[in-house]
Every structure is written in C-alpha cells, then in structure tokens.
C-alpha cells in the first residue's frame, strides 16, 4: 500500500470514528436529559434498613452488608489480577537511584502521617465517608513512597507473610459467609447484634489485603521497568 492511500484511510478512520462517537454522544445525552428528575433509586430502602446493618454510613452498609457479595467478588478480582501479574513478572527489583534529601525526609515525615490517616479512614468508614478501600489505597501509597525514597522494608514482606496478607481479605469474607450458612442463615447474612463487629473485622482484613496487593502491583510494574532498561542499558548509558 502506498503512503497517500494509507493517509487517506487513516483520515477516513478518524473522520468515521469522530462521526460515530458524536452520534453516540448525542444519543446518550438525549437519554440522560430524559431521565426523571425525581430520584428512583434504593436510597429510601437503604435508609429504612440502616439500623440493622451495623454501619451508620449508608455507603459502607451497601458495600459490606446489602451488597457485600459484590465486594467479596471485587476483592477476588484484585487478587486474581495480582496472580496474573505474577505469572508475567520477570527481572529483579533493583534499589532505587539516590532519591535525594527532599524525598527522603518527606517520606520519613509523611509515611507515619499516612498510616494514621489510613487508620482513621478505616475507623470512620462505619459512620462517615471512608472505609477499607480508601484506607488500603492510602496505605499502599505510603508504601510506594517509601519504596521510591529508597527504603527497603516494603519489599521485605515476602514468602508466607506476604501470601497470608494477600489472601486475608477474601478469606475473611468467605469464612464469615460460610460460618453463617452453617449456622442456618443465608450466605453473608450477619446477625444484627454482631454486625458492627463483623463489618469492622472484614474491613480490617480487606484493608490489609488491598494495601498489600496494590503495593505489590506497583512493585511488579517497577520490576518490569528494571528488566526493560537492562536490555537497552548499553544505548542509554553515557
């Protein structure tokens, strides 16, 4: 194929996709504007049932109780993605280049603060916005910062302790669910009296797993980068 032909094709593809996407946008915008103004959702039902859920924050109640099954599966998705990444992981983690004084001192001040914030978010999740995902995310971010600042200890988590931390969240969900079934109730139906405790335990386990999985995903990407620069090192080095 000659170049002018290819250019014409590319221009056609660009034009065609722009047109198609514009049509999609028009259709969706029309659909959106036609939605009824009054809310139709389950907000009222959630509010009515909230006292029995063990969580005062409606979002937490939905995530951990009403639709706890979705959350169980989503932690499974997270763990599965990490396993998938492990099968593709090559190369060794190399120590970061000198991070510089600023990053190092910032990390040493900020990491403990982030730890406290994560703990607060986890605790507050019961009654205010917050919860396992936010706390896990912040913990993972603290870990990433420590790694970038040259601290070796996030990588020291390996072997059995690492594996247990990874599966903690999903196992906790499964154990609670199965225990309830063996007690004669539906899967993941918490007894109203212990619901708050169960949710707190589940959130703590989920936070640990989420934080460790996210951090390990980051480390895996870092490894991939290190192994790639290996192959091109001779070109890039002065």
């Amino acid at each position: 194929m000659t170049n002018p032909e290819r250019d014409t094709l590319a221009r056609l593809a660009r034009f065609g996709s722009t047109l198609a996407v514009a049509l999609v946008f028009a259709g969706l915008a029309f659909a959106m504007l036609s939605l009824p103004a009054e809310p139709t959702g389950l907000a009222a039902a959630v509010r009515a049932e909230l006292p029995g859920t063990g969580a005062a924050n409606p979002v937490t109640a939905v995530l951990l109780n009403f639709r706890g099954y979705d959350t169980l599966l989503e932690i499974a998705v997270l763990l599965l993605a990490l396993l998938a990444i492990w099968t593709m992981r090559r190369g060794q983690l190399r120590p970061q280049r000198d991070p510089g004084d600023v990053l190092e001192s910032l990390a040493s001040i900020q990491a403990p603060v982030m730890l406290v914030v994560a703990g607060y978010l986890l605790w507050a999740g019961g009654s205010a916005p917050g919860g396992a995902f936010q706390a896990g995310g912040i913990l993972a971010a603290a870990g990433v910062m420590l790694v970038l600042a040259g601290s070796g200890w996030p990588q020291r988590l390996s072997g059995w302790p690492l594996r247990v931390a990874l599966v903690l969240g999903l196992s906790a969900f499964i154990c609670v669910g199965v225990a309830v079934v063996l007690g004669g109730q539906e899967f993941l139906a918490y007894p109203a009296s212990g619901a708050a405790t169960i949710i707190l335990v589940l959130e703590i386990c989920a936070t640990v797993s989420i934080a460790v999985i996210l951090l390990d995903m980051f480390l895996s990407v870092l490894r991939g980068r290190a192994s790639r620069t290996d192959t091109t090192a001779s070109i890039d080095q002065p």
Binding site: M32, G41, A43, V46, D70, E74, M88, R90
Partner: protein
C-alpha cells in the same frame, strides 16, 4: 445534570481515542478516562435533585468499579511491558510451530 453530560462526553472522547489508538499505553490511558466518565455519570446521577441525600448504591458501584479498573489497568501495564521486553528477544519466531 451538567456533570453527567460531562461524564458522557469523557466516555465518548476516550472511546474515540481507544478506537484510533495504536500504542498500548495510549489505549490504556484512554480506557481509564472512559471509566472516569462512567463513574462521573454514576455519581452525578446519584444526586439529581439538589438538597436530597445522595443515593448510596451508585457510590458503592463506583468503588467496586474503581477497584476493577485498577486491576485491569495493572494487568494491561504489565502485559505492555512483556510485549516490549519480548521485542528484543527474536528467538520467539524461530521456535518450531511458530510459523504461520
């Protein structure tokens, strides 16, 4: 309503970028913009009437969606890295059975 329209716009713009993307990284970024668009729609519609308490169910859906998006993005990035790493290893094509 303005926010949900913006969400749809993000979705559509990024959809076009995915269709036209040739570089994996560009496609990954576009897909992430797309998912932000969807989440924006979900959250914006959860509070359609000012003054009323927002519907918590779409919020929970967004959190679940974000986790799924993070997982998929991480996988896509590592796959892209594998692709790049293999490019410099020409032995793959020489193995028996690899021919067309």
């Amino acid at each position: 309503m303005l926010y949900s329209l913006a969400g749809i716009a993000l979705f559509c713009i990024a959809l076009r970028a995915v269709i036209l993307a040739t570089a994996p990284l560009r496609a990954i970024l576009a897909v992430n913009v797309m998912s932000s668009g969807v989440f924006l729609v979900l959250v914006a519609l959860a509070r359609r009437t000012p003054g009323l308490v927002a519907d918590p169910v779409p919020h929970a859906m967004v959190i679940t969606g974000i986790v799924v998006a993070v997982s998929a993005t991480a996988m896509a990035i590592v796959l892209t890295q594998r692709l790049r790493a293999n490019v410099s290893a020409p032995t793959v094509e020489d193995t028996p059975g690899a021919g067309p």
